[in-house]
C-alpha cells in the first residue's frame, strides 16, 4: 500500500508541473466574426441587436404614417440615452453608435447628432464667431430639429448555480414622437445565453 502510493505520487507531481506551462499567443480575426469567450455582452451582441431592432423599427406602421405627415420627406430621428440596467459594465455608447449606424445606413430616415455631438458643434460655432472669417462662419440657430427620439434600456437577468448560468438580456427601445409625446414604436430584443464554466482546477 505504501509503496503503491509512493510510486503514484511522483507522476501526479509531474503532471501538475507540466500543466503550468504556457504562454500568450495572438490570432488575428475578422472584425465581424462571432467569438464568444466569457459569455458576457460583447460587440456581436451590440451589433446584432442594433441591426435587428432598427430593421424592425423601420418596418412598422409609424413609418408610412410619418412619411404621409411630411409629404414624403424622411422623418428625422435622434438617438437619446440607452440606460444600462444590467449586472455588467456595458459601454452603451458603443451600442448607441451601432443604432446610429443602422439608422443612417437604412437610408429611410434623416439622422441628427446626439446631445453631446451637438454641444461640440455649437462650441465650434462659438469659436468660429471669434476666429473665422465672416464669409466662412456658420450661423447659429439653423439646426434641423428631430421629429422622433429613440431611447431605451438594457436589462439582464442571471440564473446561476455553481459553474452554470443562464444569462438573459432584454433590450427595450422606444421611439417617441417629439411633437405629441406619443410612443410611435416599442421594440424588444431578447438574447439568452447558457454559460458553463469548467470545473477543472488542477
Amino acid at each position: 500500500m505504501h509503496k503503491e502510493m509512493l510510486k503514484a505520487l511522483p507522476l501526479i507531481v509531474l503532471g501538475l508541473a507540466l500543466s503550468a506551462c504556457g504562454g500568450t499567443s495572438v490570432h488575428r480575426m475578422d472584425a465581424g466574426e462571432v467569438k464568444d469567450v466569457s459569455g458576457r455582452w460583447n460587440d456581436t451582441d451590440s451589433r446584432l441587436v442594433a441591426e435587428e431592432m432598427i430593421t424592425d423599427c423601420l418596418a412598422q406602421a409609424w413609418y408610412p404614417r410619418a412619411l404621409k405627415e411630411t409629404d414624403g420627406k424622411e422623418p428625422t430621428v435622434i438617438v437619446g440615452t440607452v440606460r444600462n440596467q444590467s449586472q455588467e459594465h456595458i459601454n452603451t455608447d458603443t451600442f448607441v453608435e451601432e443604432l446610429q449606424r443602422a439608422l443612417i445606413n437604412s437610408g429611410k430616415v434623416e439622422f441628427v447628432a446626439s446631445k453631446g455631438e451637438r454641444g461640440e458643434v455649437r462650441d465650434e460655432r462659438l469659436d468660429q464667431d471669434t476666429n473665422a472669417s465672416e464669409e466662412t462662419r456658420t450661423a447659429h440657430g439653423k439646426e434641423t430639429g428631430a421629429n422622433y427620439m429613440l431611447s431605451g434600456t438594457l436589462n439582464q437577468i442571471v440564473d446561476q448555480e455553481g459553474g452554470k448560468a443562464v444569462v438573459y438580456y432584454q433590450t427595450n427601445l422606444k421611439l417617441l414622437n417629439m411633437k405629441s409625446n406619443k410612443i410611435a414604436w416599442n421594440g424588444q430584443k431578447k438574447i439568452k445565453k447558457f454559460v458553463k464554466r469548467s470545473k477543472a482546477g488542477w
Partner: protein
C-alpha cells in the same frame, strides 16, 4: 581496508519520492505577517502611496501566482483609500473575475484540499470578502460620479447576496446577507429615483441588522440623516476604521500511538515561526502528528468613532459594519471542518513519512543511523510543511462607519473629529470645499487605521 558505509542514494528509495510529494503539501501562504504589519503601518500613517508601493513590490515574491486574488484585493482597497478610484476598480475587477472563476472550482476544490495543504490552493476569498468587492466597486463608481456604474455593482451585489440567502438559508451560518451592502444599495437606488428598489434594499438592510445584533453584537444603527433642513442636500460620510484582523497559524500535536490530542501551541504564532516550532517539536517527538489551523488576531487600533460637523450641523458616525466580527465569526463556524481536514492531511503525511522510514529500515536495519535519521527527518519535514492558511484581505478596515447630514446647498468645509474609546478627540481631518447640491447626495470617505 576498512568497511565502507553504504550511503543513501538520491536515485533510490522513498526519500526521493517523498520529496517530490512535498510541493503538494507545502505552503505558499501569501504575504508574511511582517509585510502585513508594514502595510497597515503605512495606512495608519496615511501613506497610501507607500502602502501601494509596498504591495506592488511584493507581487511576485510575497503573493505569487496562487495569490493574485489577494494581491489585487489588497491593492484595490489601498488605491480606493488613496482616492485612486479608477485604478482601484481596475484592480478589484481583476480580483472579482478570478474569484468568479475560482467559485466554479469550489466543488472539486473541497475534495482536493482534503489532502492538500490549504495554502497550495489558489486563494478565492471569503464570502464576506467577495461581497465587499462589489461594495468597494460601487463606492468607486459613486466617487467617480458614475451612478450607472455604481448601480451595476449594486445589482451584482444583490444577486450575490441572494445566492448566499438561497444556499445558506436554514444553515447555522451567520453571514447570509450584508447589512451595509444592502444599506448602500438603498441609497444608490434612491439616488437613481428607483424608489421601489430602494425600499426593498432598505428593508433587507434592516432585517440583516437584526441578524447582526444576534450574531456579531452589532447594535442596529439608525443611519438616518441628521439635521432638519428641508430643501437642502445631504452629505453621506463613510469612515473606514481600524485594521482587519490578522489570520495566524496555531497548531497542536496528536500523539500517534496514544491517539490523544494535546494542544501545544503558542499564542499568536506566525505561520513561519509555527512551521519551525512544528519541525522542532515533531523532530523530538518522532511519533506525533502536528496539526495546524488558522485563527484571527485583532491588532489594536485607537480610534473608536468619529464625529462630523459642517454648516453648524453635527453627527456622530454609527457602526454600519463590523467586518472584524464578521470575519471572526465566519472562521469560527468553519473551524471544525478546517481542523478535520488538517488532521486528515497530517495523517496522510505521517503515513508517507512512516513509509519512507520503513523502507530505510528494511534496507539498512531498524537500528541503523540511517533509519533514525529518516524517521526524525521525515517527521520534522512533514511538520515544517504543516501550516494553516493564513491568507486574508489584509487592507480591509475593521469597521465601516456612516454619518448622514442634511446640509444647505453650497460649498462647505467638513470637519471630522476622530475619537478614542472614552470619546476623547485623537485627531481631526478637514475636507475643504465640499459641494452640497439641492436635493442631491454627496458622498465623502476617509480611512483611519490608527
Amino acid at each position: 581496508m576498512g568497511v565502507t558505509r553504504p550511503r543513501l542514494s538520491p536515485r533510490r528509495g522513498g526519500a526521493v519520492r517523498f520529496l517530490l510529494v512535498l510541493p503538494l503539501l507545502a505552503a505558499c501562504g501569501g504575504p508574511s505577517g511582517e509585510m502585513r504589519k508594514q502595510v497597515n503601518g503605512l495606512i495608519a500613517a496615511r501613506d497610501f502611496a507607500g502602502a501601494q508601493a509596498r504591495i506592488e513590490k511584493g507581487k511576485e515574491p510575497s503573493y505569487g501566482r496562487k495569490n493574485q486574488v489577494l494581491y489585487y484585493l489588497d491593492l484595490g482597497a489601498v488605491q480606493h483609500d488613496a482616492g485612486k478610484f479608477k485604478e482601484s476598480d481596475q484592480s478589484l475587477d481583476k480580483a472579482e473575475r478570478r474569484m468568479e472563476e475560482l467559485y466554479t472550482k469550489s466543488v472539486t476544490r473541497a475534495a482536493g484540499t482534503l489532502l492538500l495543504n490549504d495554502n497550495t490552493t489558489e486563494y478565492a476569498g471569503e464570502r464576506f470578502e467577495r461581497a465587499m468587492v462589489n461594495a468597494y466597486r460601487a463606492l468607486n463608481f459613486t466617487f467617480l460620479g458614475d451612478l450607472e456604474g455604481a448601480l451595476v455593482e449594486v445589482r451584482k451585489l444583490s444577486r450575490l447576496l441572494q445566492e448566499y440567502a438561497d444556499v445558506y438559508n436554514g444553515r447555522k451560518t451567520a453571514y447570509k446577507d450584508d447589512a451595509f451592502g444592502q444599506f448602500l444599495a438603498s441609497l444608490l437606488y434612491e439616488d437613481d429615483g428607483r424608489l421601489d428598489d430602494a425600499r426593498i434594499a432598505r428593508e433587507k438592510s434592516r432585517a440583516a441588522y437584526k441578524a447582526y445584533a444576534a450574531a456579531y453584537g452589532t447594535a442596529t444603527p439608525s443611519l438616518e440623516p441628521y439635521g432638519g433642513m428641508n430643501g437642502g442636500g445631504e452629505l453621506v460620510f463613510l469612515h473606514y476604521n481600524g485594521v482587519a484582523p490578522r489570520k495566524v497559524s496555531k497548531s497542536f500535536s496528536v500523539a500517534w500511538r496514544d491517539a490523544a490530542v494535546a494542544l501545544d501551541a503558542s499564542k499568536d504564532d506566525e505561520a513561519e515561526s509555527a512551521k519551525a516550532k512544528n519541525a522542532i517539536r515533531a523532530g523530538l517527538l518522532g511519533q506525533s502528528i502536528t496539526v495546524s489551523y488558522p485563527d484571527y488576531v485583532q491588532d489594536p487600533f485607537q480610534i473608536a468613532g468619529s464625529a462630523v460637523e459642517a454648516a453648524g450641523v453635527s453627527a456622530r458616525t454609527e457602526l454600519a459594519s463590523d467586518l472584524a466580527a464578521i470575519a471572526q465569526k465566519d472562521l469560527a463556524e468553519r473551524q471544525a471542518v478546517i481542523r478535520t481536514r488538517a488532521i486528515a492531511r497530517a495523517t496522510v503525511k505521517f503515513v508517507l513519512a512512516k513509509a519512507v522510514a520503513d523502507e530505510v529500515a528494511k534496507k539498512y536495519g531498524k537500528n541503523s543511523w540511517q533509519h533514525l535519521l529518516a524517521q526524525a527527518g521525515s517527521a520534522a519535514t512533514s511538520a515544517a510543511t504543516e501550516g494553516a492558511d493564513t491568507r486574508a484581505w489584509a487592507t480591509l478596515p475593521a469597521q465601516f462607519r456612516v454619518a448622514r447630514l442634511r446640509l444647505p446647498p453650497g460649498t462647505h468645509d467638513v470637519v471630522v473629529d476622530y475619537l478614542g474609546p472614552t470619546g476623547a478627540k485623537l485627531s481631526t481631518q478637514t475636507f475643504k470645499d465640499v459641494v452640497i447640491r439641492k436635493g442631491r447626495r454627496t458622498y465623502l470617505h476617509d480611512r483611519t487605521a490608527l
